[in-house]
């Protein structure tokens, strides 16, 4: 531009709030930590003796998991009658828990695959734990469709069996699609997670002090030496798996939503269900990632790797997906009214003012819609207590949401004389609490035995990893500026 005069008012504003500082990109690893620090801090979690808190927590969660397993055994040996299911509510906590856990399992693959394709480098600090969480959540989810069939020993009928067995799976049933979608998702997620783990397993192998550890880590590290060719193959495999996983993130919860949306029930049958469920899953999944990572960060002192900027970004994703979920709620209400269909209208009226009104007002309205709105404000995203509060609201809200969709759609059906209320039994309640125990126990074991942060990937995002990194210009070089201090 020929005329380069500046505006005085603009300059004044610039001086007062320093926008330059505000638009600076935040470093992904704080305090100029180097490769050595990253390795020591993260492998330290695995290599040191299990702290006392770990044993106490693990004992507690394992006890709860055992109660859950007992409930499963009791339900399988006695029958589905141990649950509160009865006419007209034929699906309740079982499928609610299934959808809840499957939803939790979405954040991991979103972080590791979609954010990888979008070149979001901040994902490296949280992807490993999020993927592990995904696997454990899918394991918990898989329990429920298996046991809700009643005769669990017949669950193998769901598998695509050769026709000469004379069993003809109903390929037109969305429950059948679920089996394919969830098992594919689980398989690819395991592969993706394991592929990412290989370089870090090699690090653990090389640092092992006992022969058994060296042997075991050595087997799973697949002979990784960190050579140029190995990295090239690794990165190609990782990219391909990311590409394969991306449609899976969308497809799994879409198929889960088909379980409901292919029916003709008001509140179940609505076309927005697939993207609405996917957004809800990512929403709930990110809340769970933060629920686990914030304490892990505090306990293992990982504040330099999982920085306030990371929490800020995850909070924004919660706000975005929460807003889409709120959009879907609004569209459901609007279209139910706009349809002019009396059954649709009644079902939504019943959702807000029927017997389960408080589930809607507290669970869906407050927890899922109102609470994430706090994340519009920067100070809320930067305050871990506010973030934790919102995440707990979302965790609860997403369970309530599925309960309202499932039970709310069933308890007042087309024949008023058969209306009823669902009453959960102790088996219902403890099976669900048991899966919480299984989930947390598995996560604690993961933290104990595997690096909870992808060391090799975090190292790629520090400035030293850049081939153009200028040693002389960087005052914080380990040799030039007291590197020993930085290792502490």
């Amino acid at each position: 531009m020929a005329n380069e005069s500046t505006f005085p008012e603009v300059i004044a504003e610039e001086a007062s709030s320093s926008p330059e500082a505000r638009i600076q990109r935040q470093p992904l690893v704080l305090n100029k930590r180097n490769f050595s620090w990253i390795t020591e801090r993260i492998t330290g979690v695995v290599e040191q003796r299990a702290p006392r808190w770990w044993w106490v927590t693990f004992t507690f969660t394992a006890t709860i998991a055992s109660i859950g397993l007992f409930c499963l055994g009791y339900q399988i040996s006695t029958g589905v009658g141990t649950w509160g299911l009865n006419h007209p509510v034929g699906w309740a906590w079982d499928i609610t828990n299934f959808v809840f856990w499957i939803g939790i399992g979405h954040a991991g693959t979103l972080i590791s695959a979609i954010l990888y394709l979008l070149r979001q480098k901040w994902r490296t600090s949280i992807n490993r734990s999020a993927e592990a969480m995904t696997l454990f959540a899918v394991m918990c989810a898989a329990i429920f469709p298996g046991i809700h069939v009643g005769r669990v020993w017949m669950a193998w009928y769901l598998a695509p069996l050769p026709n000469n067995y004379g069993i003809w799976p109903n390929f037109r049933s969305p429950l059948m699609w679920d089996v394919f979608a969830v098992s594919t998702y689980f398989t690819v997620s395991v592969l993706f997670w394991y592929t990412g783990l290989v370089p870090d397993l090699a690090t653990l192998r090389d640092r092992s002090t006992t022969k058994i550890k060296k042997f075991l880590f050595g087997i799973f590290a697949l002979g990784w030496r960190g050579g140029n060719r190995q990295w090239r193959h690794y990165e190609m495999a990782y990219l391909l798996l990311a590409g394969l996983s991306t449609p899976l993130v969308l497809s799994v919860h879409s198929v889960v939503s088909f379980d409901f949306a292919t029916s003709v029930l008001p509140t179940w049958h609505t076309t927005i269900f697939p993207p609405y469920f996917v957004a809800g899953a990512i929403f709930g999944g990110f809340a769970m990632v933060l629920t686990l990572m914030l304490p892990a960060r505090a306990i293992f002192k990982l504040h330099d790797v999982i920085t306030p900027a990371h929490v800020d970004k995850m909070a924004k994703i919660i706000l975005l997906t929460g807003s889409f979920v709120a959009y879907a709620y609004a569209m459901e209400f609007f279209m139910a009214w706009y349809s002019g269909n009396q059954y649709e209208r009644f079902a939504f009226y019943n959702r807000v003012l029927g017997p389960y009104w408080w589930y809607w007002w507290v669970g869906m309205f407050f927890c899922n819609f109102i609470s994430p709105q706090l994340f519009w404000f920067r100070w809320c995203r930067r305050n871990v207590f506010v973030v934790y509060f919102v995440c707990m609201c979302v965790n609860a809200g997403m369970w309530y949401e599925r309960f309202i969709i499932i039970v709310g759609g069933l308890h007042r059906d087309f024949l008023p004389s058969s209306w009823g209320i669902f009453h959960a039994t102790w088996v219902d309640i403890w099976t669900f609490i048991g899966t919480l125990g299984i989930f947390t126990s598995l996560f604690l074991l993961f933290v104990r035995f595997l690096p909870l942060i992808a060391m090799s990937e975090v190292k790629i995002v520090v400035p030293e990893a850049d081939p153009h990194y200028d040693v002389d210009l960087a005052s914080h070089h380990p040799v030039g500026a007291g590197g020993m201090e930085r290792n502490q």
Binding site: M1, N3, E4, S5, T6, F7, V10, I11, E13, E14, S17, P19, E20, R22, I23, R119, P247, L250, S254, F258, A261, T262, S263, V264, H269, T270, T271, I272, F273, P274, P275, S323, Y327, A328, M331, E332, M335, W337, Y338, S339, G340, N341, W376, H468
Partner: protein
């Protein structure tokens, strides 16, 4: 790709309007003739013309709304790659103002388009039960509000962005970010209800909660294709040569791919759920479009908008070749035109495809008018934000 060393100095590049004076006059002439013909059409074949005009309006409306979306997303997510192409998104987004004027024929000819406007109270209980929403006054108020939002937001977006060209003050980036945050939910609201009012209510008995998302999916993918076309045309004319690189093309191609898949996902979900449940009040929409000669066009849409676009865009060399990517961009825009055609015209010709000359005149009239105005706008500022704080990052982009 290794890092670039030939980074151009940020002095800006300016479109020489006088160089393209001939094109401008030609566009003005074409627009004038097409508008005159449209007036003739409106007089002699009013109902057909009304539908043709709405179809053409829907095509360009989705393209402009999509460009507005990409521009605000740039600020909301603090992206860097978009900087060099962002000015063109802003230039297209401000075409919402002329589009609002071009919407007037829809309002004038409303009785030929929307059956619910002619149905007397008491004739249909379903319609009566939603007259609080479907009534002329509220319809008009909504349309005014939607356009007001788009016009104000798109003008603000472009003006603040151009102001930053003068001194590169990052405060503008922060202001634009705030504008983007406020605009995103409002954009979703206005696009959804605009799509419901103008397109879905062509058949007031039909409804789908996915409708807004479906229109958005088509708009986002086709507007990214339009951006590729505009950038390629400007590069052919000798502009942005050192600014927009193959890396930027690669990313634009990736978004075209992503939104081809997203469109298919949303379209399939909507179709499959309605087909599976088989409820007459919902299936009527697709029955009209899957029978008679409409079936062939619907099939072409599915094949063309998803399978062909997806298969080609999956290949990296296509995304990194401006010529080839522009070719597929033209194809996607053609598919968007087809999509809007299949949405609007079966409301009039339920018995089969009936191509009318007014379909073409409307498309040319709106298209030429907007292209003419675009040529007037594009020369008024640098062709890329010269002092955007993220410009260097965008220039150095490596995929």
């Amino acid at each position: 790709m290794s890092e670039r060393t030939d980074i151009p100095k940020p002095e800006g590049e300016y479109f020489e309007s006088e160089r393209f004076g001939g094109l401008s006059i030609l566009l003005a002439l074409v627009a004038f003739v097409a508008i005159v013909l449209s007036v003739v059409g409106a007089v002699i074949d009013t109902t057909q013309f009304a539908h043709s005009w709405l179809f053409a309006f829907a095509v360009f409306f989705t393209l402009c709304a999509g460009c507005f979306f990409w521009a605000i997303v740039h600020f909301a997510v603090d992206a860097e790659w978009t900087v060099v192409v962002r000015r063109q998104l802003e230039n297209i987004a401000v075409l919402m103002l002329p589009l609002a004027i071009l919407f007037i024929p829809v309002l004038v000819l409303r009785h030929h388009l929307y059956e619910w406007m002619n149905t007397p109270v008491g004739a249909d209980p379903v319609l009566d039960s939603k007259r609080q929403y479907l009534n002329w006054n509220f319809f008009l108020i909504r349309a005014i509000c939607f356009f007001l939002f788009w016009i104000v937001a798109s003008q603000l977006l472009r003006r603040l962005s151009i102001l930053q060209d003068k001194d590169g003050n990052p405060a503008f980036t922060l202001k634009l970010r705030k504008l983007a945050f406020v605009s995103l939910p409002l954009f979703a609201f206005c696009l959804t209800f605009g799509a419901c009012d103008w397109l879905m209510s062509l058949n007031y008995k039909w409804f789908s909660t996915m409708w807004g998302v479906y229109i958005f999916a088509g708009a986002a993918g086709s507007s990214m294709s339009l951006l590729v076309l505009v950038i390629t045309a400007l590069r052919k004319a000798g502009y942005l040569k050192d600014v927009v690189t193959l890396e930027h093309y690669h990313i634009m191609g990736k978004w075209m791919l992503a939104f081809s898949v997203f469109w298919a996902y949303i379209g399939f979900s909507q179709y499959m759920l309605i087909w599976y449940a088989n409820i007459p009040e919902e299936t009527q929409y697709f029955i009209a479009r899957n029978t008679e000669s409409w079936w062939y066009l619907s099939l072409l849409l599915v094949l063309g908008r998803f399978f062909i676009a997806f298969g080609i865009l999956l290949m990296r060399f296509v995304k990194k070749n401006p010529g080839e990517l522009a070719g597929i961009a033209i194809w996607i825009i053609c598919m968007q035109i087809l999509d809007m055609y299949i949405i609007v015209l079966p409301a009039l010709h339920g018995t089969g495809v009936h191509v009318s000359v007014w379909d073409f005149t409307s498309l040319i009239a709106i298209g030429a008018t907007l292209a003419f105005i675009y040529l007037r706008i594009v020369g008024r500022s640098s062709m890329f934000p010269v002092r955007d704080p993220r410009l260097i990052e965008s220039l150095k982009l490596v995929n």
